[in-house]
Every structure is written in structure tokens, then in C-alpha cells.
Symmetry: C2
Subunit: 392 residues, 2 copies
């Protein structure tokens, strides 16, 4: 029994932490509940109910299905749902009239044929990548509404148009309720989230890189220390961020009315920056694996290269961090970024010539690591920089 109680306390604490980590989750839950309760007023208030009857339930269902965490997802689903219902409803009514013309026995055959045809075609259309990214939900609703209208039209002959019309109206009401509540009460803009994610990733990379320089030469001198090195591991979450970024960019495209980003914000640029950050993270990963090797370095050589190496790390780390700050504020990158990049380029040139002139060494690990790190990072640094200009 005590063990059970311990488990319960555990779960409660985890749930509490979930809410504390991101209070927007609690807000979202209350928002959804509010939207559903609002829409269910249709049932409780007689004059409203008399207008739509049992069909008002579609408004409730729509709110539940459309209300998503972010504005982008809600807008995308809501618009998809409304548009798909409109088109499928129209098609369904058309097929219904075609079917009624073919008599008592022909009707179910024609209806069944069209349902089969439409379902197969639209299901296949969901595999087209461009459709899947933005209209997947709409295509499903299209099949759903079409089947609903055309199948049930067989039993409710006279009321097909009425039914299609009511379904469309209730779905529009539900979608708008969801969208309005989602936008008006503490909105979660997925575009801002994406912006922050990409900026955070750049900052993490910068920190890892800045930390690496000092850390590496420390280890050479004193051996591994036991301090907290979590900042060095920050880059790891960048390695696998691809799918998240793509999904977010797809949703962000729906947020056309965002006050900060405007109508034609170049979301694709974020994906490019994301890809470049990832390539940069692979390099940092390669650098970090040298922290675990135990090859000794002659101190003479070490003293020669220590300065340019740490400088490259700190300067390009700073550049990345400032680019992140600039991205967060959606402005041109600060001029100091320019400076840092220039510095790290210079030091990299320094290092290269140093490596070329001093031709006899005894160590293995160090010579290689530095040009890789330096050259790769500078290349990577320059590219997002160019990207940024085209974006800002």
C-alpha cells in the first residue's frame, strides 16, 4: 500500500512539473474546455437549439477536433475543415441528384460507386507530399463529409441540401469559435516557437563551441575535471531537430495574420538555417569526441596553437550567440557579429599558416582537430550570415 502511495505521489509530481515547465499547457487545457462549454450553449439555450436541432453536435465535435495547441495548427485545421466540408458537401449533393435520377435500384449502386471512387482517389492524394504537408486533414474531412452526405442521402431523400447546409453552418460556427478563442486568449504562435527554437539551437551551439576551447586545453593540462559540463552537451539536441523544425514551419505558414512576422515571412529560411546549424553541430560533435582521447601533446606545440584555437572558438561562439539574439528580435544582425566573424576568420588564417610553417611535430591528435574545427566553423558561420541578410 505504501508503495502504491509512493507511485501516486510520483505521478502527481510529474504532472505538476509538466505544468510548471510550460504554463501554456494549463492555459491551453482551460481554453479548450471554455470553447467546448461555449459551443455547447447551443444545446442549452432553446432558441439557438431550435435553429439547428441535433446537428448542433457538429459544432461541438468541430471545436474538439480543431482546437490545437498553437494558432498555426488551429487555423490550418479550421480552414481545412471548412473548405473541405464546403467542397465535399457540394459534390455530395450533386452525386445525390445524379443518383436519384437513376431510380430505386440504381441509386445505391451509383452512390456506392462514387463513394468508392472518391475515397480511393482522395486517399491516394494524401500520399502526395505537397498535399500531405498542408492539406492532409482537409482531405480526410473531404472523404468524411462526402460519405456522410451521399450515404445518408439514401435514407433522407428530401433533406439532403438542408443537411449539407446545416452541417456546413455548424462546422463554420465551431471552427470560428475555436479559432477566435485560440487567437484571443494567450495565443501560442508556432511561428514564434520556431523562431525561438532555431535561435536557441544557434545559442546552444555557440555556448558549446565557446566552452570547448577552454575545456580542451584544460584537459590537456590538468586532466578531466568533475565540474558541470552540461553546456558542452547543449549541441546534442541540435543534431536531431530536423523533423520538428519541418513540422513547425508547415504549421507556421498558416499564421498569416501574425503581427510580428507578417504575411510573407520566409519560413523556408528557417529550415535552411536549421540545416546549417545541424551541419555545424555535426562538426562540434566531432570536436567533442576529442575530449575523450588521451593522446599526450608536447607542451611546446600546445602553447603555440592554444591562443588561436581558443580565440576561434570564443569568437565564432560569440558570433553564433549574437546571431541568435538578432534572430530573436527579428532584426538585422548586430554589426558586432561581423566583427566576431572577421576575428575568427583571421585567427583561422593564422592557425593555418602556423600549421604549414612548423613542419615537424610529434603529436597526432591536435594538428588535425584545429583546421577542421576552424575552417568548418567559419564556413558554416558565413553561410547563415548570408542567409540572414536575405531574410531580414
Amino acid at each position: 500500500l505504501e508503495k502504491l502511495w509512493g507511485n501516486v505521489v510520483d505521478v502527481v509530481e510529474k504532472i505538476k512539473k509538466l505544468g510548471e515547465d510550460d504554463p501554456r499547457r494549463i492555459t491551453h487545457s482551460l481554453k479548450v474546455a471554455l470553447a467546448i462549454t461555449l459551443v455547447s450553449l447551443f444545446y442549452y439555450i432553446r432558441p439557438l437549439y431550435d435553429g439547428f436541432g441535433a446537428n448542433s453536435i457538429w459544432a461541438v465535435l468541430t471545436v474538439i477536433l480543431v482546437c490545437e495547441f498553437s494558432v498555426g495548427a488551429t487555423l490550418g485545421k479550421g480552414l481545412n475543415r471548412m473548405l473541405a466540408t464546403l467542397l465535399a458537401g457540394a459534390l455530395g449533393v450533386g452525386v445525390h441528384f445524379l443518383a436519384t435520377m437513376s431510380g430505386e435500384t440504381g441509386q445505391p449502386i451509383i452512390l456506392g460507386f462514387f463513394v468508392f471512387l472518391i475515397a480511393a482517389t482522395v486517399t491516394f492524394a494524401r500520399f502526395i507530399p505537397a498535399m500531405k504537408a498542408r492539406y492532409d486533414y482537409g482531405l480526410m474531412i473531404f472523404i468524411l463529409t462526402f460519405s456522410l452526405i451521399s450515404v445518408s442521402s439514401y435514407r433522407e431523400n428530401g433533406e439532403v441540401i438542408e443537411m449539407a447546409h446545416q452541417r456546413l453552418t455548424t462546422i463554420i460556427i465551431g471552427s470560428f469559435t475555436a479559432i477566435v478563442i485560440c487567437i484571443c486568449i494567450r495565443p501560442v504562435w508556432i511561428g514564434e516557437n520556431l523562431n525561438n527554437l532555431v535561435a536557441n539551437n544557434m545559442e546552444k551551439l555557440g555556448k558549446s563551441l565557446e566552452g570547448f576551447g577552454g575545456e580542451y586545453f584544460n584537459i590537456l593540462e590538468e586532466g578531466p575535471s568533475m565540474d558541470d559540463k552540461s553546456f558542452l552537451q547543449g549541441y546534442k539536441s541540435v543534431l536531431t531537430s530536423k523533423d520538428t523544425e519541418e513540422a513547425m514551419a508547415n504549421l507556421a505558414r498558416w499564421e498569416v495574420w501574425h503581427f510580428r512576422f507578417g504575411f510573407r515571412h520566409p519560413w523556408k529560411q528557417y529550415l535552411k538555417i536549421g540545416t546549417l546549424s545541424r551541419q555545424c553541430a555535426y562538426k562540434v560533435d566531432a570536436l567533442n569526441s576529442y575530449l575523450n582521447t588521451k593522446i599526450q601533446t608536447p607542451s611546446e606545440f600546445q602553447s603555440k596553437i592554444q591562443e588561436p584555437c581558443t580565440k576561434i572558438c570564443s569568437e565564432s561562439g560569440k558570433a553564433l550567440k549574437e546571431l541568435a539574439v538578432g534572430l530573436r528580435k527579428v532584426m538585422n544582425q548586430p554589426t558586432s557579429v561581423h566583427l566576431h566573424i572577421q576575428h575568427s576568420k583571421m585567427e583561422a588564417e593564422n592557425l593555418k599558416s602556423l600549421l604549414n610553417t612548423t613542419s615537424i611535430w610529434e603529436n597526432d591528435a591536435l594538428q588535425e582537430i584545429i583546421p577542421t574545427g576552424a575552417v568548418a566553423l567559419i564556413l558554416v558561420d558565413i553561410v547563415p550570415y548570408i542567409e540572414k541578410i536575405s531574410e531580414a
Copy 2:
């Protein structure tokens, strides 16, 4: 007009390619259409329709929503939907009786309160990672059914139990139709897909690695060639496979009845192997970046290390490829894997002592690349090997 026609031809060809790339897509579309048509028979055949009335539409909707590409996804959604409907229906009926006891004015208030409470709680529960991974859909259906039953109970006092019962029955019929069609007609087992994905990734890594050895020394001797080097780039798709693998493993857990994998197949092992493959891919990425550097290597040194290096590459590449074959056939790894790993270990030791004894060199690029490549790869090779034993 000609341009338009060109566009149309373009689109048609793309769609054709989509079907040819994976004929299972076409089968899936036909399966969905078949399932919907079958279920809509409820409407066309009078005795069936009389049993369920307008509620039969839920069976059609269920089929549309539950029919997914893979067996795992369909099973997961179907079971989620049935269980959630059962629980939410029971709760909804309970709340309905509680509400009717509190009189005419109290009823909508109590109903509204409970809908708000349940919606907020369950929406929040969807953020719990463990719930999200497997029961996300079920939780949504729970809110949906609960709102549906309790809200509409206000207007249809006497028929609540009848309604809940009919909804449950139709949803069970719909889910079973979808599941049966999905399993019986050319099933797509996501567990098999995951198995193949992980095996393919290992094979690609092996090929890239095998190719790298020869390629690197070729370039040193003859400069970059213009042949097709796509096999060298194969590892790139491994870099970002994390999210796909996790999603697939989540779905694969539903496929408990699969004839080849059985009830307690260790899907988590796949994620481990996947993570190890990815780490291995980062190393290969680091190696590949050396293909673009132009630093000259003295031929004396080159001739010394060429043999062990190419051997390590080819032996560990072969080991990976054979592990992939073994994984595909779901059996213990062939003994030859053992042999290849032993070989590459031996050569790595060789190379290490070679690097330690020959202490004066003039080049930068080469010394470093080899121990990294060798040591890292051997480490990475041994670990999935151990994993495999625990799995097979």
C-alpha cells in the same frame, strides 16, 4: 495553354511515380475505399438500417478515421477509439443521471461544469509524454464522446443509454471492419518497416564506410574522379532518422499478433540500434569531410598506413552489412560478423602501434583521421553487436 498542358503532364507523371515507387499506396487507397463501401451497406440494406437507424453513420465515420496505412496505426487507433468510447460513454451516462436529479435549472449547469472539467483535465493529460505516445487519439475521442453523450442528453432525456449503446456498437463495427480489412488484404506491418529501415540504415553505413577507404586513397593518388559516388552519401539519410524511428516503434507496439515478431518483441532495442547507427553516421560524416580537403600526404607515410586503413574500412563495413542481413532475417548474426569485427579490431591495433612507433611525420590530415575512424568505428561496431545478442 501549352505551358498549362506541360504542367498537367508533369503532375500526372509525379503521381504515377508515387504509385510506382510504392505500390502499397495504391493497395491502401483501394482498401480504404472498400472498407467504406462495405460499411455503407448498413444504409443500403433495410434490415441492417432498421437496427441502428441514423446512428449507422458512426460506423462509416469510424472506418474513415481509423483506416491507416499500417496495421500498427490502424490497430492503435481502433483500440483507442473503442476503449475511449466505452469509458466516456459510461461516464457520460453517469453524469446524465446525476444531472437529471438536480432539476430543470440545475441540469445544464451541472452538465456544463462536468464538460468543462473533463475537457480541461483530459486535454492536459494529452501533454503527458507517456500518454501522448500511445493514447493521444483515445484521449481526444474520450472528450468527444463524453461531450456528445452528456451535451445531447439534455435534449433527448429518455434515450441516453440507447444512444450511448448504439454509438458504441457502431464504432465497434466500424473499427473491426477497418482492422480486419487492414490485416487481411495485403497488410503493411509497421514493425517490418521499422526492421527494414534500421537494417537499411546499417547497410548504407556499411557501404559508405567500405567505399570511403578506397575513395580516400584514390583521391590522394589521382585527384577527385567523376564517377558516381552516391554510395558514399548513403549515410546522410541515417543522420536524421530519429523521429521517424521513434514514431514507428510506438506504432509497432500495437502489432502484438504479428506472426514473425510475436508478442514481446523488444522494440526498444531498435531505438538503441538506431541511436548507435546515428552516432556511427556522425563519425562517417566527419570522415567524409576529409574527402574535400586538399592537403598533400607524403607517399612514404601513405603507403605505410594505406593497408590497415582500407582494411578497417572494408572489414567493419562488411560487418555492418552482414549485421543488416541478419537483422532482416530476424536471426542471430552470422558468425562471419564476428570474424569481420575481429579483423577490424586487429587492424586498428596495428594502426595504433604504427602511429605510436613512427614518431616523425610531415603531414596534417592523415594521422588524425585514421585513429578516429578506426577507434570510433570499432567501438560503435562492438556495441550494436552486444545489443544484437540481447535481442536475438
